[in-house]
Subunit: 494 residues, 2 copies
């Protein structure tokens, strides 16, 4: 973007803008990606002069950008829902499995029931989303957890992020209201807390033996106590499970201890469970809702759980679909406030709502599409698992870099041991040492990742986050390019 | 929603929530609609005991809820984009006009160019939206106004509302920052200003001869001066043109005077132009961008213009598509802040982006779909015009109600002259007199509208807003039901 050349006394001055906005930072789409996009444009010129021929975007969990295919069943259903007249054209319907056609009709009925719209997807829905979809989400949760779920306590959202933001915005009245977030954390949380003018309360995750990350109650207590001393009231605890960026899947006993902490310290729990389908290790995913129920706290515990269509094996990021569920312990008057806020934006986008419906209600055994659906699903998840293991192995073969297992989610978060000279050079260039490392990697290899400083880390340690989403052949090439860069970098600054 | 029956000491207490959220009000989906939804559920029981058999939702501009058909071309293109493999199936493609198939391919190319996604619509896009779409939006603006437009200064959004909110959130740092909004206004503005903790600065629109509404500079000056005296800094002026709820289309000379006011008083301008296609009277729609250019101010004037896919003849409300354009006068550093905020939410939903693309880039003369597209478009717009005229006429035949012409948008905003006894009864029931009237209307007729108090009005005057979106046969029935109610109401309280 070119700078306007006119020099005049502007009305809107950056220094006078909302200070909370100025403060907020979001590294996942920040400086590194902006530079990667610049390189990507340069690469269109055959004489680009860069030492690589393509950008490998590993900065964000965006599977379809890296050639992951969407689920055929889901896409075909939506195609028919959008042009309902196609359902009356046998030449068209003959080209689809029968359950695709049936599902499209069922969805159209569900939309009409809720919106009065004969054409399906063009009317505003209920501000919490279509009842038809929320009912299916509730059924999905009940099947998953064996615990009752109420569609009136489900809000469909444009991806998980706006859902998280709705809750944070509601809980934060000012600087005195604190939200407990893990370090390292997904920067949606830090950015949103800053944006709403609240206080971040950092609890440190521990990078233990073999670089396996854990969340200890000690660390939660320490953060809680410090906030209190600073005059900040902890309002909520955020847990990301499976972990982003750490890739950890919490064991059951840790989850119980966390719930117990929330009860004891009187903070509500925000459970970010968007990677629940992305499990590669021995710990299975268990929802906090189920844990709360096992502890006999279903009626009183105050929990918000988040899910999305962007991750898992769907990877439908651009469709912006997701939901959150509010536990029975939260007062209905609180839900009324959330409803009011949702109604100002009218409704979540219907495409995301339908994608969400298809996520929670896949073809069943015996349905015509079932076999193909399972095949596609398993191919994606098993490939992801292979890539997760391979990438971590590749890192651990190199000097000055150590990486814990990726038990879940879509990321590896290796620790890098930067030589003093590299740290000094970064300081000279007025940047965080891991940003300096990550930008050097981009400059030499075209591989785009995110520095650990964007997520937070123990002072004096350095990390970066990378996805393992490139296709398997590309992943090998990426590992090769990375290896060469890493060894040269360490050599240069040793 | 049932109240949780347990009585316990909840962690989240309503009184402790974000006070700005508690303050915000949004009447369009408020108390009246919630009651209408309740009736709608009751109507499913054949023995419902209500004096009507259906709810006529006139509270919101939601055309497809009321049987308006979407544009066939647009829907068919999106159907093919969502399942790209269909483009390789000649049995399928033979069922569509050739330009539908071509357009789907062009869009898929545009998406791949921007996101790297081979499957089109499942990857995150650029946080401002696909460059391909933004380029088409810029071309559309250039064709409309004859003034250059830069895709880098266009943000695609999930409908116009989140776009408006982005700008307000950026401009508002606290109570001292004021936004000038018309009275009556669309309550997105009042609600969002409250939500971000700013100050509403009300300027009164004048209900003149024949109930035609005007925006006078005198009124702007008066509001500006009062704000200054109150220690509030006016940061921006909001103009809704065509007017919601007033239905006014601003004449050119008034627009010039408004731009002049902004320059003189140093406030930026937010031009809500979402109803630009909905014109029924003699004043044509002219964009503020064009006016600014005619005044020779293109390079320096600070303007944000909003548009949407929800209104016009598309009426694709549920798809949540829209855009805003930032004028060259706004500093690039300001745009960087907007980009950062957009990136926290990753990207606007792609379905809305595609709907936006199809809005700004309709079939051209000579294209196979052109004739049908024009036919569908003209049928919708001419029917809307007939209904606008008919409804206003119907109101003006009755006593104690007077309504100005609906020159644009989707609404009539009649003034009602409530008898003292009705006002007293409303006070007894602790509600605004026009809310009392509108709820009585709903109780007797099933017609759901919004009281003038939800938009703001001159104290002592009463109004309601109704759409004229029911199909023509239904509109006559609505007018009949309304007439009976209105006469009985006036009789009862005279």
């Amino acid at each position: 973007m070119k700078q306007s050349t006119q020099l005049f006394n502007r009305i809107i001055k950056v220094a006078e803008l909302n200070p909370n906005l100025l403060k907020a930072q979001y590294a996942v789409r920040g400086a590194v990606m902006i530079k990667a996009d610049k390189y990507n444009k340069m690469l269109k010129n055959p004489n680009h002069g860069l030492p690589f021929n393509d950008i490998i975007y590993c900065n964000i969990g965006n599977p379809q950008q890296l050639q992951q295919k969407p689920m055929t069943f889901n896409r075909n259903v939506v195609s028919l829902v959008y042009s309902p007249e196609l359902l009356n054209n046998p030449t068209i319907t003959s080209q689809f499995p029968s359950d695709v056609v049936q599902r499209a009709q069922t969805i159209l009925d569900g939309i009409k029931e809720n919106t009065g719209s004969y054409w399906g997807s063009g009317a505003y829905t209920h501000s919490q989303g279509l009842y038809y979809v929320r009912k299916n989400v509730a059924d999905f949760i009940e099947r998953r957890d064996g615990v009752k779920s109420n569609p009136d306590r489900i809000f469909l959202t444009d991806g998980a992020s706006p859902g998280v933001q709705s809750i944070l915005r509601m809980l934060i009245g000012g600087k005195q209201d604190g939200i407990m977030i893990p370090i390292p954390q997904y920067p949606l949380y830090s950015a949103s807390i800053d944006l709403y003018g609240g206080s971040q309360i950092h609890y440190m995750c521990t990078e233990g033996k073999g670089h396996k990350w854990t969340t200890s109650i000690e660390s939660l207590e320490k953060a809680y106590e410090k906030a209190k001393r600073d005059g900040i009231k902890p309002r909520a605890l955020v847990i990301i499970n499976p972990g982003n960026p750490t890739g950890t899947v919490l064991p059951k006993e840790d989850m119980k201890a966390i719930v117990d902490f929330c009860v004891r310290r009187r903070v509500c729990l925000l459970a970010d469970e968007v990677y629940q389908e992305n499990i590669y290790g021995d710990n299975p995913f268990i929802s906090f809702k189920k844990i709360v129920d096992e502890m006999g706290l279903t009626d009183t515990f105050e929990l918000f759980s988040f899910h999305t269509c962007s991750k898992g094996f769907l990877g439908e990021c651009g469709r912006r679909g997701g939901y959150y569920e509010i536990s029975p312990g939260v007062a209905t008057e609180v839900i009324e406030q959330l409803y009011k806020a949702a109604s100002i934006n009218l409704c979540p986008n219907i495409d995301g709502q339908l994608t969400c419906d298809l996520m929670v209600n896949p073809p069943k055994k015996g349905d015509e599409s079932y076999e193909q659906y399972q095949k596609e699903k398993n191919a994606i998840l098993s490939s992801m698992k292979r890539r997760a293991i391979k990438l971590v192995e590749a890192f651990n073969k190199l000097p000055n870099i150590e990486c814990g297992p990726s038990e879940g989610a879509m990321y590896a978060f290796p620790q890098i041991f930067l030589p003093e000279k590299a740290v000094a050079e970064a300081k000279k260039q007025n940047m965080q040492p891991d940003l300096f490392y990550v930008l050097s990697m981009l400059d030499k290899t075209g591989v785009c990742t995110v520095p650990g400083s964007g997520f937070g880390q123990e002072p004096g340690t350095y990390h970066f986050r990378t996805t393992f989403l490139p296709p398997e052949s590309k992943m090998e090439e990426m590992a090769e390019r990375f290896k060469k860069f890493h060894i040269e970098f360490m050599e240069k600054y040793k």
